[in-house]
């Protein structure tokens, strides 16, 4: 499905030189919230094709870390590099590579599932090879294309939000508890989506309290401790 | 901790006659949403000391069922009885017995955790034996009493919302995915809270996509199929 995609080739070129710079590199991050240092000296890196889990108890700073990586929150110290460059300096370029799913879904209640995906595609780097309808099908929402999101259940909304990631050409997925509200079949579906994404040289950072069974998760999870 | 509680005795009296009416009885419920019948002919009952799971895929109607049991949504057909009486006819009395935790937390962002619990206690039937502070401690939020909820993480908020149930004397807990956003220790904590509640002759209806390991779950889950 992904073959003959334009973006595919650029992914591949990075993968062909495994000794190259890691695509995402985080160095010496520190952030303080509510007078409490959530983490400091946090460094890790991510190569193409890799997924990494972010683990920690409630309130340990997973969401905060992921939002820093999106560029929403500025860390008190440290830098995030994308292909060797500070993301603050190349914001739009970096943002073209990032797909984010947060605690909030980022889809509009008043639009249908399909319309939401069309908007998401237009706002990001649209993929010519995956249509909005196909994306909805892949998250198990075929048949709900024309339902307003308002009248969907919690898990169905989460699925629509996940489908957003499929219609754009983002190489780095930042997923904050993507399994929330999904039934067991939904969880399996998301896992296989992530696998496929990594197999196509994508990357994923996933925070989750669920036990995740991904083969592409290479190194040990990033542990945030309180 | 629960002994010598006033309400305790009334719970016990119901439990001492196991052949008595079930406390909660649902008969022949039907509801249609979006031109689709979610469930029809749904009947079940719940006795003191019992917990029951509500299972079903995303969009199968779990939340809708639980909201009907709270009296928020009127079913298209069927009745919910509490101790043999239609809940629509005894609203305030019934509501005194119900503790609800939905997808939304029902706690105020701008208040501290402690203040939120004090409000919850005053709005419900306050328990003289469990103070707001004790409740926070039991959900693992000791030390965050005076933090505004706004600055808490997703899981921490969920814990505060759970603590609401502990400060009022509600016999029937209606929990919609109570494990959402909790870490594994949090999940264990909630399970033991439910066990304790049922041991004190309470009841619980729980929808969850997590595998739940509760000894008080007597009968088979209520299955909602699409």
């Amino acid at each position: 499905m992904l073959i003959s995609d334009n973006s595919e080739q650029s992914f591949a070129s990075a993968a062909s030189t495994p000794t190259a710079l890691p695509a995402l590199e985080v160095s010496d991050l520190e952030i303080e919230r509510d007078d409490r240092i959530l983490f400091s000296g946090l460094s890790f890196s991510l190569h193409g094709g890799q997924a990494r889990l972010v683990e920690g108890a409630n309130g340990s700073g997973k969401t905060t870390l992921l939002r820093i990586l999106c560029g929403f929150v500025r860390p008190d110290r440290g830098t995030v590099y994308w292909c060797g460059r500070d993301i603050q300096r190349m914001r739009l370029e970096y943002q073209a590579e990032v797909g984010y799913l947060g605690h909030a879904h980022g889809i509009k209640d008043g639009l249908t599932a399909l319309e939401n995906l069309q908007v998401a595609a237009a706002l990001g780097q649209e993929r010519p090879d995956v249509s909005a309808l196909q994306a909805l099908e892949r998250v198990g929402m075929a048949g709900y294309e024309h339902n307003r999101v308002r009248s969907l259940s919690a898990g169905q909304r989460r699925r629509v939000a996940l489908a957003r990631l499929l219609v754009t050409r983002s190489r780095l997925w930042i997923l904050d508890e993507p399994f929330t509200a999904l039934d067991y079949r939904g969880i399996g579906m998301v896992e296989s989506l992530i696998e496929a994404h990594c197999a196509a040289d994508g990357m994923a950072l996933i925070s989750s309290h669920h036990a995740v069974t991904l083969t592409c998760v290479g190194e040990a999870p990033i542990q945030l401790s309180q | 901790m629960l002994i010598s509680d006033n309400s305790e005795q009334s719970f016990a009296s119901a439990a001492s006659t196991p052949t008595a009416l079930p406390a909660l009885e649902v008969s022949d419920l039907e509801i249609e949403r979006d031109d689709r019948i979610l469930f029809s002919g749904l009947s079940f009952s719940l006795h003191g000391g019992q917990a029951r799971l509500v299972e079903g895929a995303n969009g199968s109607g779990k939340t809708t069922l639980l909201r009907i049991l709270c009296g928020f949504v009127r079913p298209d057909r069927g009745t919910v009885y509490w101790c043999g009486r239609d809940i629509q006819r005894m609203r305030l009395e019934y509501q005194a017995e119900v503790g609800y935790l939905g997808h939304a937390h029902g706690i105020k962002d701008g208040l501290t955790a402690l203040e939120n619990l004090q409000v919850a206690a005053a709005l419900g039937q306050e328990r003289p034996d469990v103070s707001a502070l004790q409740a926070l401690e039991r959900v693992g939020m000791a030390g965050y009493e005076h933090n505004r909820v706004r600055s808490l993480s997703a899981g921490q908020r969920r814990r505060v919302a759970l603590a609401r149930l502990l400060v009022t004397r509600s016999r029937l807990w209606i929990l919609d995915e109570p494990f959402t956003a909790l870490d594994y220790r949090g999940i264990g904590m909630v399970e033991s809270l439910i066990e304790a509640h049922c041991a004190a002759d309470g009841m619980a209806l729980i929808s969850s996509h997590h595998a739940v390991t509760l000894t008080c779950v007597g009968e088979a889950p209520i299955q909602l199929s699409q």
């Binding site: 500025r74 | 505004r148 706004r150 600055s151």
Partner: protein, 246 residues
């Protein structure tokens, strides 16, 4: 020069430097204020039209100037804070707002007290008076925004954007007298060429203006020092400072 700014930008150095400067500013302010008041209230002759009521001018005009000057200062430091991410500039802007609001209030009150003998009413909806009132709202809005946003850093950045946007109103206030022909005094002091006001009245006015400026600087530095301490309370040097005190 750059080094100086760099040092100013570091909270620790700012704290020490401000500590040394405050007494100087305070004393200079006191001296000028006394000189200005004597010059204005005692030495200057009564106005041939207004009698002695014109002496409110020595309060009104400098505070009106300050109300504008401080807003511009806030906007400039906000720009510095946004562009060079200098922590101290944010603090200066935030600390200036209440002072500026007070001066604006003072200008409004003294102006309307002056208005009663001059125009026969405390208040008219003339362009300059109204725009000064609007300036007060700008200050209050800025302060409201700062307290409403809980995260300190976000509040500072949001305030900076607002201050920059609001600064467009300052020229409107300043030129409102020319644009609309109104009751309020046109520029008398700041007019190019020779000012249309007698030197014996002008000099005390200028002295008062200077004194007010120094007063503002003293107050800002004091407030900023406190703000620095609260903000940096967990840093090494503040801890040492506190231990030193105990």
């Amino acid at each position: 020069m750059w080094l100086f700014f760099h040092k100013l930008g570091s909270p620790k150095h700012f704290y020490q430097l401000a500590g040394r400067m405050i007494p100087w500013f305070a004393w200079a302010c006191a001296l000028l204020m006394i000189a200005g008041l004597i010059g204005g209230l005692v030495l200057a002759p009564p106005d041939y039209q207004q009698g002695d009521s014109f002496r409110i001018m020595y309060l009104h005009v400098p505070s009106a100037w300050m109300s504008l000057f401080i807003y511009v200062t806030m906007a400039v430091s906000s720009a510095i804070a946004l562009i060079w991410k200098m922590k101290m500039a944010d603090i200066i802007a935030a600390c200036s707002a209440p002072i500026g609001a007070s001066f604006t209030f003072l200008a409004l009150v003294s102006g309307s007290l002056w208005g009663k003998p001059m125009w026969g009413t405390y208040w008219v909806w003339d362009a300059r008076l109204t725009s000064e009132l609007i300036l007060l709202f700008l200050y209050l809005g800025y302060m409201g925004l700062l307290v409403a946003i809980e995260d300190r850093r976000n509040a500072a950045r949001a305030g900076a954007v607002l201050a920059l946007v609001g600064v467009v109103n300052v020229p409107i206030i300043h030129y409102s007298v020319q644009w609309w022909n109104t009751l309020h005094q046109g520029p008398t002091v700041t007019k190019f060429g020779q000012p249309s006001i007698a030197a014996s009245m002008l000099i005390p006015l200028l002295l008062m203006g200077l004194a007010f400026t120094l007063f503002y600087m003293t107050m800002v530095l004091i407030r900023a020092r406190t703000a620095v301490l609260t903000q940096e309370r967990r840093s090494q040097w503040v801890r040492e400072l506190i231990e030193h005190h105990e």
